[in-house]
C-alpha cells in the first residue's frame, strides 16, 4: 500500500522545530545541503540550536545569524574555499561553542544513535587533542583481551574512545528524488551520511529536487540508491534547486560564483547585511528568482 502523504513546506517544518533543539544536517561540506530548509530557519525566530553536521555553508549561515549556540562537526568547509569564513569568525570571536571531532567519530556518533546504543568504540581520537579539548568524551575498556601476534601473555584489555550517540531532535537532508511519503533516492556518487542522520533523529525532513510516484524511484539508479525509507521520514518538501548554492550532482554543480559572493560577506557587517537583505530576508521563491536572474 502507498505510504501516507507527508508533503509540506519549509516553513511548516520550521514551525515543528523549537529553540534549543539539536538538529542534524545532512550532506558534506558544500555538497547536497538542505539549503532551502536552512534559509527557512534563518527567517524564523528559532535560536539556541545545537547543530550536528559535516559542515559547510549551513553551519556558517546558522553561526552568522545567531541561530547556533553549539556546533558539533567533523569539519566546516566550503570545499573549493577550504575555511568556512563565518564559522571561522564565530570560533575566533567565541560566539559559539564548538565540538570538533575526528571526521570518522561523527559517523560513529550518528550510527550509535541510529542503532539506539549509547556509544560506539573506536581508536580514532585516542592520544589527540580531541580528547583534551572535548572534555565530555570518555573512554571505555574492552571486556575482551587483545593479544598481540606472537605473544602468549593473555593479552590486555584495550582502552578505546567511546563515541557518544548523537541523538538528534530533528534531521534535515536533501535528496535528488522522493515520493510523497519519504522514500528517497540519492544520486551522484556518495550518499554521505544522510540515511544515518534520519535514523538518528526523532523527526526527519527530506527536501528533494522532485517528488515522483513510488513506481518511478527504482528506475533512477540501481536499488542501492534507495537509501532512505519513509519509515524514517516525518516530512517531504519539494524544493527544486533547494541545495543551491551547494552542489547536488547530477542535477547541478556548486554555484562557485555565488559561493564566492557568500564567502566575501564575512569581510564586514555591511557586506553581510547587504547579502542578508538581498538573499535571505525573502522567501524561497524570491531567492530562487534572484539566483536565476544572476545566472542569465
Amino acid at each position: 500500500m502507498p505510504g501516507p502523504d507527508k508533503r509540506c513546506t519549509e516553513d511548516e517544518v520550521v514551525a515543528e522545530l523549537s529553540s534549543g533543539m539539536t538538529i542534524g544536517i545532512g550532506g558534506w561540506g558544500s555538497r547536497r545541503k538542505p539549503m532551502s530548509l536552512i534559509r527557512a530557519i534563518l527567517r524564523s525566530d528559532l535560536t539556541d540550536l545545537t547543530i550536528v553536521s559535516y559542515g559547510g555553508p549551513d553551519v556558517g549561515l546558522l553561526c552568522r545569524s545567531g541561530k547556533a549556540r553549539k556546533v558539533i562537526s567533523g569539519f566546516v568547509s566550503l570545499d573549493s574555499i577550504p575555511l568556512e569564513p563565518h564559522y571561522q569568525a564565530a570560533r575566533q570571536n567565541g560566539s559559539i561553542q564548538a565540538a570538533e571531532w575526528d571526521e570518522g567519530m561523527l559517523l560513529l556518533g550518528l550510527q550509535a544513535a541510529a542503532w539506539r546504543v549509547p556509544f560506539l568504540p573506536t581508536r580514532a581520537g585516542l592520544g589527540s587533542d580531541v580528547m583534551k579539548n572535548m572534555a565530555d568524551l570518555r573512554t571505555v575498556t574492552s571486556p575482551y583481551a587483545t593479544v598481540l601476534p606472537g605473544q602468549n601473555d593473555g593479552g590486555e584489555f584495550e582502552e578505546l574512545l567511546a563515541v557518544p550517540a548523537l541523538e538528534l531532535d530533528a534531521a534535515l537532508v536533501h535528496q535528488n528524488a522522493a515520493d510523497v511519503s519519504g522514500n528517497s533516492v540519492w544520486l551522484g556518487e556518495d550518499p554521505f551520511m544522510d540515511d544515518l542522520f534520519v535514523r538518528a533523529a526523532q523527526r526527519s525532513y527530506v527536501s528533494t529536487e522532485r517528488i515522483l510516484p513510488t513506481t518511478e524511484l527504482a528506475g533512477l539508479g540501481d536499488i542501492a540508491h534507495l537509501k532512505i525509507s519513509r519509515m524514517d521520514v516525518t516530512g517531504v518538501i519539494e524544493a527544486p534547486h533547494g541545495a543551491h548554492f551547494t552542489e547536488c550532482l547530477p542535477d547541478y554543480s556548486r554555484d562557485e560564483a555565488f559561493q564566492k559572493r557568500y564567502a566575501a560577506t564575512a569581510k564586514s557587517d555591511e557586506a553581510w547585511d547587504e547579502f542578508r537583505a538581498e538573499f535571505l530576508d525573502i522567501d524561497e521563491a524570491g531567492y530562487q528568482a534572484k539566483v536565476k536572474e544572476l545566472q542569465v
Partner: protein, 276 residues
C-alpha cells in the same frame, strides 16, 4: 623492499619541485597493495609517480568517491583535471564513498600524506587552529581525519614552506598524533601508528632516531640538492637529529621526469615550490 640507492639521474634540467615529487614518491616505496592517499598537488604528483613507476600495485583515489586502477603507467591520470576529464580518465575499480573510506582506514590498508600547519620533533601535527583551541587566534581546518588516520595507519607529511613557524617545539593543537603521544598510549593502543616521513621543500625527515626514553624522534634523512644543512637548521624550530651519513635527496630518472611532466602538465608544482 630497500631503497634503490643510485638510480641513474636524468640529464635534463630538474627543478626543486621535481626533487620533492621524487622524495614524496619514495615515501610510498614498499607499500605494495595499499591505498596511496596523498592530499594536495605535490603529494598527488608524488603518489601517482610512485604508482606509475616503482610501486605499481598501489591503489589510488580519484580524489572523491572511487578508487581507480589505471591499466598502465601512462594511464595514471594527471592531477587537477577539469571535472569531465577527471571522470573520463579514471578506471574505476572500487566504490569508495566517505563512509567506506572510514571503513578502509580503520582497517588500516592506507598511507596518507597530509599537510601540516605545525609539526614537532615527535611528528605531532596541527591543522586545527593557531593559539588556544577554545577560542583560537586563527581557526584553521579543524581536526578533519588526522586523529583517526594517525592511530590507524601509516602517515607522512608534506610541508611546502619549511620554516620555524611550521617546524615547532610543540604544536598548538595535536591533530595527527606523534610518537610521544603514541608511546603514552602504550603498545596495544598504538600498534598501528607509524609516522613515516616528512618531506619539505628543503629536505626529507624520518623518525629513525630515538630520544633518551627510546621514543622515535625526527631525524634529517636527506637534503635536497643545493640546500645546506645550515639552511635547514635555521628553518627548523624543533630538535632534529643529524646523522653522520647525511645524504642528498635523489633526482628523478628520465622515466620519472617524463612521468612528473605528464602528471603535472601545467607545472602546478612550481607554484607550490618555486625554483630557489
Amino acid at each position: 623492499m630497500s631503497d634503490v640507492s643510485t638510480p641513474t639521474p636524468s640529464s635534463t634540467a630538474v627543478t626543486r619541485a621535481d626533487i620533492c615529487a621524487v622524495a614524496i614518491a619514495e615515501a610510498f616505496r614498499g607499500d605494495g597493495e595499499r591505498l596511496c592517499n596523498p592530499i594536495g598537488n605535490l603529494p598527488l604528483i608524488g603518489g601517482r609517480l610512485a604508482a606509475a613507476t616503482f610501486e605499481p600495485y598501489l591503489a589510488l583515489t580519484d580524489g572523491f568517491y572511487t578508487l581507480m586502477d589505471p591499466q598502465s603507467p601512462d594511464e595514471v591520470p594527471p592531477i587537477a583535471l577539469p571535472e569531465a576529464e577527471r571522470v573520463a580518465q579514471r578506471t574505476v575499480a572500487h566504490w569508495n564513498p566517505y563512509r567506506e573510506m572510514f571503513g578502509l582506514l580503520w582497517q588500516g590498508k592506507r598511507h596518507v600524506m597530509m599537510g601540516a600547519t605545525q609539526i614537532d620533533q615527535y611528528g605531532n601535527q596541527n591543522i586545527a587552529a593557531i593559539g588556544d583551541w577554545t577560542q583560537p587566534r586563527r581557526q584553521l581546518l579543524g581536526f578533519r581525519g588526522a586523529p583517526g588516520n594517525t592511530i590507524n595507519h601509516t602517515t607522512s607529511y608534506w610541508v611546502p614552506n619549511h620554516s620555524p613557524r611550521v617546524f615547532v617545539p610543540a604544536v598548538d593543537v595535536v591533530c595527527g598524533i606523534g610518537y610521544d603521544r603514541a608511546h603514552a598510549l602504550g603498545p596495544i593502543a598504538s600498534r598501528f601508528h607509524e609516522v613515516r616521513r616528512v618531506v619539505s621543500n628543503l629536505a626529507v625527515f624520518d623518525f629513525e632516531a630515538r630520544d633518551a626514553e627510546g621514543v622515535p624522534t625526527m631525524r634529517l634523512r636527506s637534503l635536497h640538492p643545493g640546500v645546506t644543512l645550515e639552511e635547514v637548521l635555521e628553518a627548523t624550530g624543533c630538535d632534529v637529529v643529524i646523522p653522520d651519513d647525511l645524504g642528498e635527496s635523489r633526482g628523478p630518472t628520465d622515466q620519472e621526469l617524463a612521468q612528473i611532466n605528464r602528471l603535472d602538465p601545467r607545472g602546478l608544482r612550481l607554484n607550490e615550490v618555486p625554483e630557489p
